[in-house]
Amino acid sequence: MRGVSKSFGAIQALQSVDFDIVAGEVLGLMGDNGAGKSTLVKIIAGNYPPSAGEIVLEGTRVRFSRPLDARQCGIEIVYQDLALCNNLTAAANVFLGRELKKSIGPLRYIDHGAMYKRASKLFAELKSETRPRDVVRQMSGGQRQAVAIARTRLSDPKIVLMDEPTAAISVRQVAEVLDLIRQLRDSNHAVVLISHRMPDVFSVCDRVAVLRRGRKVADKRVFETSPEEITGLITGAIESA
């Protein structure tokens, strides 16, 4: 991302932010509430276009006018509120918008069996006890998380964006999610982890970037920095690094 800015009326949410996201690397994105993290995610996800600046993906400039465009370019997002339909089953949510179909002659119909099977496999890979036929309404936070993450695994995305994936789940499940992030990295995906939780970022990220008031104030390798320095950068005690 080069010189990306976004303003809403008089409010400048992002000011000329540059970013590199590299395959096989986990980038931690940190910042206080209102620092511009969510705005940045939504620009990458195609929810709205940047006011200025550009996104270059593998050498070509891309413009997303809707979330589907971003997905087709290989960008998958796990949203903070998980964006699940509570009234549908786990499998239905995993395949939402790209249901598997079977044909009899010219008729195409939803293949429930194949979706249950595939979802079941995805959950097993994630070591989650989520069952494909369960309705999301009855699930725990960790199971919901597994559904949202399983969804990104349907395609083989280039970039996986995770917005606070560990905010609402138990300690044991956090470890599982972090394992999954490492798994994604090792299979040469680029992962962007947006998180408030310092231990998570330091245990799984290769690089950490800090946003403050819409500007990027730091972008360092994890071993070159410390939780104390990052905290200072987030709060503004340290101007930039």
Partner: protein, 339 residues
Amino acid sequence: MIESNKNGGGHAEINETVSSRRELTAAGAMIRTQPFWVLVAIIAIGLVMSVISDVFMTERNLYNVTRNFAFFGIMALGMTAVIVTAGIDLSVGSLMGLTGIAAGLAMQAGYSIGVGFAACMGTAIVVGLINGILIAYLKMQPFVVTLGMLAMARSISMVISNNKMIYQFGPDQDLFEWIGGQNIWGVPNPVWVLVVLTVIFIVAFRYTTWGRWVFAVGGNAEAAKLAGIPVERVIVSVYVVSASCAGLAAFLMVGWFGSVTNALGLTYELNVIAASVIGGANLMGGIGYAVGAPIGAALMELIRNSLLLAGIDALWQQFFIGLFIIIAVLLERLRNRGS
């Protein structure tokens, strides 16, 4: 599951409680649904009535009962799709008047039944599109849009009919009246239409992406949008479907009556919504059953018929139907709290 059980005693205990909440079997899932319990109520009322009334189980009475609820069942199918998206369509009653008059005018002018049917369904689709576009793209509230349409459609039907009854339906009058008023193998034609439509809706809800998306939009429109579902088009489609069902019901009902006035379908919207809700459709969206529509409509007609045969004053009818709506919703509340 098996993997995490190895993690140690503490976890095993937790995991056990998780897995004891078994996945539902088909039968287990069925008895948790509203339509199932309403069907049980229908059978119970039917048994009681067949004991206390000689007339109830006669072919003639059952013929009338099924035909009477067929029209409401047809409309309730479309209404269920709308309610599943967390919408409401108050215009279906007025739309019956408008589409019935449109069909009548076309055939009265000497056109064939095909043209009459096209006029009827064409009018319905146009009105459905207007409702849907206002709701989906201009983000207006379904209640307000369709309330406005309720008034406008009724008024237009008065204008174009010049407030006169139509009872001459051109060259295909006999066929038209046969379709709405007669039967095949002793089953009224509107009931056949209801059966076929119900099967179509069951399949559409379960086996098409359209059906899946209708439920997704009702469950979480935001999530549906993020998943790439064309939420606006889905919303427009359900209002077109609902309007089309109203048009079809009007076409059959006018044929049965053998005449049409612009008062056709007056206040039917309330019965149709009631049938959908009794059949398990949740006004909050995301939940509804195709088979619930005919079952809900059947229960309402059965109550009406039973009160009549039991010699209870007809003035009590609305009271009992209203009571059943409240009980149906209350039961659903209690069941959901249990699970």
